[in-house]
């Protein structure tokens, strides 16, 4: 497994709030390999974005606490990001060069008072580039690569002058300018129209094929996950409840939550007016959650005295496919 880029082991990210401890990420383990895409899927509040922010070490410093290991494997050996100072030189150097991130809302990712080109070039300068005209050439080539028409003109424009799709392309350009080995994409296409979304997804696949980067793709959209992911982690209330290859998750889901999610999307060609399967209730807030199955109170297969007394262990049901549910223990 020498091509593992990132290995997360038993990650916990807690926020200390006045009302109690918010266990946003509560014991999550996974790894991402070179040239592969891990899809992380779940509803709002499941901890998928906080997992990404923990890896980047950009959770709010004031009240968040990270424990567990976030191992970034490099030729020179592994470094545990969870132990680094989030403001220190080492973490700053790793951000952008080794791990980069793109967000849902590209409008807020760019400064409105600097041109898009200057912001992308800034990354090159911070990481050691000296030659200004070489940097400019490199950025123009990059904008061209991510599909921005007339890049030699666009490089001097501001983010508000670009459309949503063009802004997302620019953000991808900014993320990959230093050839990171891991790209974290947090709902990168959620704000886009479906035609633009498919262009961006295609672009990300092409870039991955060209430079072999590992991608962690976070979304609530099961259609996008099925298109992008090699492996899928299904998160619920701070925990990964099921993990497996995309085909295993979509064709043979095991966890009652995964099954419920897949059933609740409208299918094309289904009988007109038919009722959709639903999951009762709503996602609770993980404030001081009990040490039990997080899905217990919404689960149709709830077993009193089993599901509500302890957290079920992850059981391997097929090679590469694991599930945390008492039904499989």
């Amino acid at each position: 497994m020498s091509d593992v880029v990132l290995e997360v082991k038993d990650l916990h990210t807690y926020f200390e709030l006045e009302e109690g401890t918010l266990k946003a990420v509560n014991g999550v383990s996974f790894s991402i390999r070179k040239n592969r895409t891990l899809g992380v899927v779940g509803e709002s509040g499941c901890g998928k974005s906080v997992t990404a922010q923990s890896i980047m070490r950009i959770t709010p410093k004031k009240n968040s606490k990270i424990s567990g290991q976030i191992l970034l494997h490099r030729a020179s050996g592994a470094v545990d990001l969870a132990r680094l100072d989030e403001d220190g030189d080492e973490m700053r150097d790793l951000r952008g060069r080794e791990i980069a991130m793109i967000f849902q809302e590209p409008m807020t990712a760019f400064s409105p008072v600097h041109t898009v080109g200057n912001q992308i070039m800034e990354a090159l300068f911070v990481h050691g580039e000296r030659d200004k005209s070489a940097a400019r050439k490199r950025v123009i080539a990059l904008l061209d690569e991510v599909g921005i028409p007339a890049p030699e003109r666009r490089i001097d424009e501001y983010s508000f002058q670009l459309s949503g799709g063009m802004r997302q392309r620019s953000m991808i350009a900014m993320a990959i300018v230093l050839n990171p080995r891991l790209l974290i994409a947090d709902e990168p296409t959620t704000a886009l129209d479906v035609t633009i979304q498919s262009q961006i997804l295609r672009l990300m696949k092409r870039l991955q094929r060209d430079n072999g980067m590992a991608i962690m793709f976070i979304t609530h959209d099961l259609g996008v996950i099925a298109t992008m992911a090699d492996d899928v982690a299904v998160m619920y209330l701070g925990k990964i409840v099921e993990y497996g290859a995309a085909r295993q998750i979509f064709k043979d889901p095991k966890h009652p939550y995964t099954k419920g999610l897949i059933r609740s999307i409208p299918k094309f060609g289904a009988t007109d007016g038919a009722h959709l399967a639903t999951i009762e209730g709503t996602v609770p807030v993980p404030l001081d959650p009990p040490d039990a199955c997080p899905f217990a109170n919404r689960c149709g297969e709830f077993i009193a005295g089993k599901c509500d007394v302890r957290m079920p262990a992850a059981v391997t049901v097929a090679p590469g496919h694991s599930v945390s549910c008492v039904l499989y223990e």
Binding site: E43, D193, F250, I265, T278
Partner: protein, 337 residues
Amino acid sequence: MSDASLLEVRGLKKYFPIEEGLLRRVVGHVRAVDQVSLSIGKGRTLGLVGESGSGKTTLGRCVLRAIDLTAGEILFHHDGATTDLAQLSRRGMREFRKHLQMIFQDPYSSLDPRKTIFDIVSEPLRIHRIAKGRELEDRVRTALELVGLDVRYMKRFPHAFSGGQRQRIGIARALSINPQLIVCDEAVSALDVSVQAQILNLLNDLQEEFNLTYLFIAHDLSVVEHVSDDVAVMYVGKLVEQAPTQALFARPRHPYTEALLSAIPRPDPDQPLPETGGIEGELPDPANPPSGCYFHPRCPYAEAICREAEPPLVQVAPQHTAACHFAEELELNGLEN
């Protein structure tokens, strides 16, 4: 179709002026909605789709007269009479609005945080002086029960509720005065998948029970396919195709509809998005649209005539219209293939 229709929109136009300079001189117009005609049968759902900027929300607002239209007719058939909403005065419209309600996208900003659930849901009833006192409370109770909310929470404020529950509150508010038509503007887009299914089922049940008519505006085509009897597709302010849902999804007649359908990521790893092909480019600037057919710069089938002449909306099959010069000839792919 028209004899049983509840709402008929004819030649609706909404132009927004583009102003320039200190004197706010009008230098042009954005044709947000341009010559759109459609009709919705009583008790049916018309899905309205298109990319952002296509004018679908503006059309929905014009139908409710939330904004004034530039031209056109909005015929509402009710109790054996026909009313042209476009001709109503503000006062007349206010009276009429009890038949038309709206459900909004964002359940967070569409409820006043300083009002209790009772105040929010009872508001339409109080404004139209339909009920007061004991009766008012009963009607609110009934509306809340219909949408599956616990009536004990009536005195609480919106912040105590989740997104799905807030959307139920918005639906209860719309239902409280027994409207005929509900415009649902991206009513489930902000919700989580599992909650979205609950709300779609609720809308479906309510429609069956009260014979409600929905204008369902959404960008998610799988949701639109699920709820709609008919679907209308808009592109840069114009209607480019309209058909019964199954016909439109099985065999689209406009290349833009085909492009929309092919761009949907399917929740099946065995049907990934094709790596090549697909529609290129973005929606043109509606203030400065291309010549001829607005879609021609992005259309893989475009020919010379498409750059020169605007295609009329013509009937290509029973109840199926499309605005494409080659609607009859092209063999476009739907979702079955």
